[in-house]
């Protein structure tokens, strides 16, 4: 737990405040620190100010200058090793052009699926659940 809280925060990008809040709570319960953004533009600003993020977790459809897929590409360009988690009710991965290695989860999100994805990314221990 102590080791995990020292880690850089997970950036959650989601325009629905309720869903964003709940995701942040779920990740906090898993011992992860989080930082929130309501759209891609805000997220880019957050990435500019933070030294690092341990993962990007983003919705696709959001108001603003770009959607979540474009944001994920930007993040991959900045930090190729940054784990990417894409969440949406609209698209499925076959439609999109997700960056390589990005994980897609469909809304509404299943908590076990989220835990498996985070464990695979090494953000939480596989035994935590």
């Amino acid at each position: 737990m102590a080791e995990q809280t020292r880690r850089a925060p997970v950036l959650i990008v989601e325009d629905d405040g309720l869903i964003r809040m709940d995701l942040a709570d779920i990740l906090a319960d898993m011992g992860l620190s989080t930082v929130e953004a309501a759209n891609a533009d805000q997220a880019l600003k957050v990435m500019d100010t933070l030294q690092a993020i341990s993962a990007l977790m983003t919705d696709i459809d959001m108001p603003g200058s770009m959607n979540g897929i474009a944001l994920a590409h930007r993040a991959a360009l900045r930090s190729p090793t940054c784990p990417l988690l894409i969440i949406s009710g609209r698209y499925n991965p076959a439609d999109g052009t997700l960056p390589e290695g990005a994980v897609f989860l469909s809304k509404p999100i299943s908590e076990p699926a989220l835990r498996r994805a985070l464990a695979k990314m090494g953000l939480i221990g596989a035994m935590d659940w």
């Binding site: 405040g17 309720l18 809040m21 009710g89």
Partner: protein, 486 residues
């Protein structure tokens, strides 16, 4: 004596010819003797009209055409036989007597030769018969029955007519092109409508009648079908046609079939074109697909929202019983907000409707505790769900801890479009006359749901101030996204 014509042969043999203008048979000319022998030996209907008195002789075949006039007409005058249609017969018999033959392709008779009235058709030729010096002695006529040919032709015509009707009634466009240059031979109304009503195409080649298709490659395709006999079949093919009211170009989508038509010997005679304008059908299909995709998307987002509400409710509830009650209240509020969206049709919820739903639930109609005012602003469906929830949580909190928890407390609720840019929405909830409030040390799920703000809006904020006179909550958002239908 005349086995081919027993009836007329008997009449001929028994007739007292000396009492007729022809006189005794022994005195007849070689020509008349020869012709009567030919006539009575033949199965083909034949007629002889002889001498200046136009004495008439015929065989059994011809007798059938005379109906009840036979046998009286045998040996009588030609006029006596056909007096009722003499106007038509007189010119041709006169012509024959003047040395001019006539042929008639199709004369119709009703005959009873099979025991019932029967339509028959015959072709006639009236041939003048002359003596060696050129004088016309009489007229010889051989008739050919053409009933079966006429019937076949009629059946063909009927079938063609039927095909034509089928083509006319066909919901698709049909045209027939003939020859290697693809000349329009036929086009039904639907085809005309498809290429543009009022274009004169029959008798013209496709290249001149519908010239805009040349550069789109359709003539090459027609040439290919004409050359190879292989059909061309395409669905949803884009085509530009000068079909507008003033002949202006329009883009359409058509289903198209070109099929080679062949002569009896197998060579290609032309091309049958079947075309259907599917522009509107395709557009409908696309919009239906979009709509079902959109519905699926909305459903998933709303499930995600419910999931978040349920999760937040459970996370912050003191016990399961109160969690269950709060959750069911919150879902009821969402459901009512949904009703408003559906009642009014797409995107026609208004802020006033949502405020009304809240006061219906939490205000006392006898002693009202709410003062509300604001314009009848339209609100998009996503923000409307959030706003309903925020109003519900604010009211619930006021009833439990705030101005509505004591007699005399009140809530002022105002909303407006923020000037001067008129590009922002603002709603202010201000409580008065309640117990003195202080910011709670632990925020409950209600205040967390409120702080989540207006879903689907840009630049949305919620500011809660715990002022001495009561809670003040300001909800703001960019107006365009607030009203936008997502």
């Amino acid at each position: 004596m005349f086995p081919a014509n027993p009836d007329c042969g008997k009449l001929f043999a028994e007739m007292d010819w000396s009492s007729t203008p022809l006189g005794q048979r022994e005195d007849w000319s070689v020509e008349l003797k020869t012709l009567t022998n030919v006539m009575l030996g033949s199965l083909q209907p034949m007629l002889i009209v002889w001498g200046p008195k136009q004495t008439t002789l015929y065989n059994d075949g011809y007798a059938a055409m005379c109906g009840h006039r036979h046998p009286a007409a045998f040996g009588g005058s030609f006029h006596a036989l056909w007096h009722d249609i003499w106007d038509a017969v007189e010119p041709i018999i006169t012509d024959a007597y003047q040395g001019r033959g006539t042929s008639m392709d199709d004369i119709e008779f009703t005959m009873h030769r099979n025991g019932y009235p029967e339509e028959t058709h015959f072709a006639f030729s009236y041939t003048p018969v002359r003596d060696p010096w050129g004088t016309v002695l009489g007229m010889f006529c051989a008739c050919t029955e053409i009933t079966s040919q006429v019937m076949v032709r009629r059946a063909e015509r009927t079938q063609r007519e039927r095909f034509r009707q089928v083509f006319e009634l066909s919901p698709g466009g049909i045209a027939m092109l003939v020859g290697p240059d693809h000349v329009f031979d036929y086009a039904n109304e639907e085809y005309d409508a498809m290429i543009g009503v009022g274009r004169d195409i029959i008798g013209k080649t496709v290249a001149e009648a519908v010239s805009e298709v040349v550069r789109q490659g359709f003539i090459d395709i027609l040439d290919g079908v004409y050359r190879t006999g292989e059909s061309f079949i395409a669905r949803g093919l884009p085509i530009q046609l000068n079909r507008g009211p003033d002949g202006e170009m329009q883009r359409r989508l058509i289903d198209l079939v070109y099929q080679a038509m062949r002569h009896e010997d197998g060579t290609i005679s032309g091309i049958l074109v079947q075309a259907r304008d599917v522009t509107e059908i395709r557009a409908e299909e696309a919009s239906r697909e979009l709509l079902s995709h959109e519905l699926g998307h909305r459903l998933k987002n709303q499930l995600a929202m419910v999931q978040a509400i349920a999760s937040q409710t459970l996370r912050n509830a003191p016990d399961i019983a109160s969690a269950r009650q709060r959750l069911s209240e919150r879902l009821a509020v969402l459901s009512a907000a949904h009703d408003t969206i559906l009642e009014g049709g797409r995107g026609t919820s208004t802020v006033r409707q949502l405020v009304q739903q809240m006061t219906d639930l939490h205000d006392d109609p006898v002693a009202p505790r709410f003062v509300t005012s604001g314009p009848n602003l339209k609100i998009g469906s996503r923000p409307s769900l959030s706003l309903s929830l925020i109003l519900h949580e604010l009211a619930t909190n006021a009833v439990k801890h705030g101005a509505l928890s004591v007699p005399g407390g009140s809530v002022e609720l105002h909303w407006r479009v923020v000037l001067p840019g008129a590009d922002g929405f603002e709603m202010i909830w201000a409580e008065r006359g309640g117990p003195v409030v202080a910011e709670p040390r632990v925020r409950g799920s209600g205040s967390r749901l409120i702080s989540a703000g207006l879903n689907g809006t840009n630049d949305g904020h919620v500011e809660m101030s715990f002022l001495p006179e009561g809670l003040r909550c300001v909800v703001t958002a960019d107006l365009e996204s607030f009203q936008k239908e997502h």
